[in-house]
Amino acid sequence: MIARSLRNRWPAAALVAGLLLAGGAAAAGYAAVRPPNHNFGTVPPAAYAPVQPPAHFAGHGQPSRPAGQPSRPAGQPSDSGVGAIVSLAVPVRLRIPAIGVSASIIPVGVATTGELGIPDDPRVVGWWAGGAAPGQPTGAVVLVGHIDSAASGPGALFRLAGLRPGAVVDLTAGGRTWRYTVQALRAYPKANLPTGVVFGQRVTPRLVIVSCGGPFDSTTGHYLDNIVAYAVPVPPGHS
């Protein structure tokens, strides 16, 4: 009875198994061409971290400041003390041992189109000189580097998409080394680049490294994605 039942059902079982196998093969085939995941870790919160007033200052009839708002209005100096005059540490070299990067850095700016300039030499990395410098109390240090160029092959950040949270990034600036730890990697379609997150300066200190990646459009000569790595400073003495 049992044996007969199995025998009768065998073709159906084989068919199911075959379909499963075929499905599995199809899935495997799809997996081979699915774009690789470029999203890892947690992007540091974009909001400027306000200095919270001591608790005993609360309750004087003032409306409480919404979370994420700056502690003082933009453009208001905190003080005029000359003790706050700081020589900016202009970055001159980027090292990321995990992906074999050691590149010189030159300052770059922004065009009327909003496009961030990039060094002509793809081996050289750009530092957005309109953004923060290492060591400033707020703001994002923004670097931009080629993944490659049609004229001269792989660029300084060819392997940026291989970077993972925890990797160490060293910036040489102002005669010392500023160490950062990678927190997150993101791939953004260029058409939907969250510019406030990537370039915004009203943030706690961070390093943002921008390159290209994803699919390549050979008609425009552009990649379709920006690959962006986010890192946070390692306090001196903790490196």
Binding site: S80, V86, G109, A111, E115, V142, V198, G213
Partner: protein, 276 residues
């Protein structure tokens, strides 16, 4: 355009007040966000090492001819700048003094320089941070030397004519290197250069003519600062060597599994290199 020229040396020295016109201020993104301003200081007076004070505190000790500071970030506010001979007591009479209102987001350069007649002065310039087209940079020439009016050549072409002491002129040029030469107006012999001046996309490169023609100390120093506001895009690749396989290309996709794709990229790179 000279904005303001102040405070002569010696007996004529006095405290003058500079009010930077707010309409001329172009905020830099980071400094505006932090409420700070950016100030760069240039030393263009030959044979005169100085100490520079801001609001009574020494900020640039032993500051020497031909030095350009890194950008200084400072809170918006009123600053009295005193310049004393290097090593002079902090209470001694300054060689030069000026008081300047520095608004949030301002980008200024202060040049300790010589007038056309050779008198030391403090000359402030507002740095124009307005953007230029993609792939271009701005080349600015500032005449802050004891010298007559000059012409400036970019390569063999005359780019600026008759620039006088205290004046500046800006050009928009493609990123690259400009071989700049300065001659006395109407002449062809270089009094400065030619010097190779780097022009970077989205950046201003400022060339200062400094020193003294009569003292044969004419030379040039440069400063760079960023143009434009917040970026909205970045294009950082044109080769396609690091591209992800495309999902739409199913039949090719299987063949383009990692190893093959990498090998192909290597081959393309090799071919491109041979062509280069």
């Amino acid at each position: 355009m000279r904005l303001l020229k102040l405070a002569a040396a010696g007996a004529a020295a006095g405290i003058a007040t500079l009010a930077a016109g707010s309409g001329l201020i172009f905020p830099a993104a980071a400094s505006a966000a932090s409420g700070n301003a950016t100030v760069t200081v240039v030393h263009g007076i030959p044979n005169t090492p100085v100490d520079v004070y801001a609001n009574g505190k020494e900020i640039l000790p032993g500051f020497t001819f031909k030095t350009v500071t890194q950008p200084l970030s400072l809170p918006a506010g009123s600053y009295t700048i005193d310049v004393r001979k290097a090593g002079a007591a902090a209470t001694s009479k300054p060689i030069l003094s000026a008081t300047e209102q520095v608004p949030a987001g301002a980008n200024l350069t202060i040049v300790a320089d010589l007038t056309a007649s050779g008198t030391p002065a403090l000359t402030p310039f507002v740095n124009d941070t307005s953007a230029v087209g993609a792939g271009d940079g701005r080349l600015v020439v500032r005449h802050t030397a004891e010298a007559p009016a000059v012409d400036v050549y970019a390569g063999t072409a005359k780019a600026i004519s008759g620039l006088a002491n205290g004046q500046q002129q800006a050009l928009t040029v493609p990123a690259g290197t400009v071989a700049a030469k300065v001659t006395l107006a109407g002449q062809t012999a270089a009094v400065i250069g030619p010097v190779n001046v780097p022009v970077t996309a989205g950046m201003a490169t400022v060339v200062y003519a400094i020193g003294s023609a009569s003292g044969k100390t004419l030379t040039a120093v440069t400063q760079q600062y960023a143009l434009g506001g917040m970026p909205t895009s970045a294009h950082a690749g044109s080769g396609g060597l690091g591209a992800d396989p495309a999902t739409s290309a199913w039949p090719f996709g299987i063949a383009a599994a990692a190893g093959v794709s990498l090998a192909g990229a290597g081959l393309v790179a090799a071919v491109r290199r041979r062509r280069a």
